[in-house]
């Protein structure tokens, strides 16, 4: 067993880029405190690398050659791809874990035809989480992407299988690994409806996720998700993959719909690692 931590968190660019505009500073500070607890949990786990299951936004992958799943096996990465002043995160280099990531990739390939990449420019989807979880950029990162942006998208039942493959791969290596999914529940990011949040939908999905209710989690159609949770809701694929990889009870450590300036229902989660699997 080498998966020592599993969690999930929101990654919206407004979390850093528009933090200074936020008027509900009390809720914002509660969120920041939850992120700091997550950082501490990862540090306390003794993790030697952090797998980030992300839903990137056309920084590396485009409709010319779009992988459903991709894993980074590079020596180093760089980010953010966005204007650093806009995102309010300085551009930097981030260490990778090429040997470890390659071994994980070989194992994942036993059941999922994952693509791999030695080049990867991190966008806000990874940089915002790292800004809080590894602020010194001193922990090797293994980026993983699930295409949640450019339809056709991978079916949810394949995200479930991918989560199983991630766990099996983690268990196949001796290194201690932490894994976080970054994404959003309901949100309409970067559109005129930015800031809209469907709290009822969010809490229903997140409740099902904490209990790992497979039938319910796999029952969401993209049409229903789009209607109820916006295009951003497609990112539930990353949360499902992480919850499945962990296999245990989920804990919703922070959720609020009261920070629409961040344009997402803001979430911090931790998943128990099921060692009986």
């Amino acid at each position: 067993m080498s998966l020592v931590y599993a969690g999930a968190l929101s990654h919206a660019p407004g979390i850093t880029g528009r933090a200074h505009l936020c008027e509900n500073t009390a809720r914002r500070d509660e969120f920041l405190a939850a992120l700091d607890r997550q950082r501490q949990d990862i540090e306390d786990s003794g993790a030697e690398a952090l797998i980030v299951v992300a839903a990137e936004h056309f920084a590396n992958f485009f409709m010319n050659n779009m992988p459903a799943y991709c894993i980074g096996i590079g020596d180093t990465y760089e980010g953010p791809i966005e204007d650093p002043e806009w995102l309010r995160i300085e551009r930097t280099k981030i260490p990778g874990a090429p040997d470890l990531a390659t071994r994980l990739t070989r194992e994942i390939m036993q059941t999922v035809d994952v693509a791999y990449a030695e080049e990867w420019k991190f966008d806000h989807g990874i940089m915002v989480p790292l800004n809080f979880l590894t602020p010194k950029y001193d922990l090797p990162i293994i980026p993983v992407n699930i295409n949640c942006q450019g339809p056709p998208l991978t079916p949810l039942h394949r995200a479930w299988v991918f989560g199983e493959a991630l766990r099996r791969a983690c268990d196949s290596v001796p290194e201690k690994l932490a894994l976080v999914a970054t994404g959003g529940v309901s949100h309409w990011p970067a559109t005129p409806d930015s800031g809209k949040i469907n709290e009822t939908w969010d809490r229903q999905f997140l409740g099902q996720l904490t209990r790992l209710e497979k039938d319910k989690l796999l029952s969401y159609s993209d049409e229903e998700t789009y209607a109820q949770a916006g295009q951003g809701g497609f990112e539930i694929r990353t949360y499902i993959a992480a919850a499945v990889a962990a296999g245990g009870q989920g804990h919703l450590q922070f959720y609020t719909a009261e920070l629409p300036i961040f344009a997402v229902g803001v979430t911090v989660m931790k998943f128990d690692i099921d060692t009986a699997a």
Binding site: L21, H57, P192, D193, S194, A227
Partner: protein, 111 residues
């Protein structure tokens, strides 16, 4: 309509510093590398966020382009709403079902 080419232009521009230099030094030459309609090319020359949104550019690409142009967040949202008002509903892409937008934040209402 060549939404793929239009988004490809912005995808390349957003992630490639050499492309950004070319965009600023000779935008017509850069535009000429893509198979774009006159309407699309003009929207890019003018940085017309509203029209680009109506043409179907994904917001995750458009948002980064707006940041590259130095457009402030709330102005970016306004430009998309004005685009819908001026040009009608989104014509293609994943947003064809998206509404015209309203203000969902106190910060925007209070600015």
């Amino acid at each position: 309509m060549s939404l793929y080419q239009l988004q490809k232009f912005l995808y390349v521009l957003n992630r490639d510093e050499a492309a950004q230099r070319k965009y600023h030094s000779d935008i017509d030459a850069f535009i000429g590398e893509f198979d774009l309609t006159d309407e699309e090319a003009n929207a890019l020359r003018e940085g017309d966020i509203g029209l680009l949104y109506v043409l179907g550019v994904n917001g995750q690409i458009l948002m980064h382009y707006a940041a590259l142009l130095g457009i402030e967040w709330f102005d970016y949202l306004d430009m998309m709403r004005e685009g819908i008002e001026k040009h009608g509903p989104v014509r293609a892409g994943v947003y064809t079902m998206t509404g015209g937008g309203a203000s969902f934040t106190e910060e925007e209402k209070n600015r």
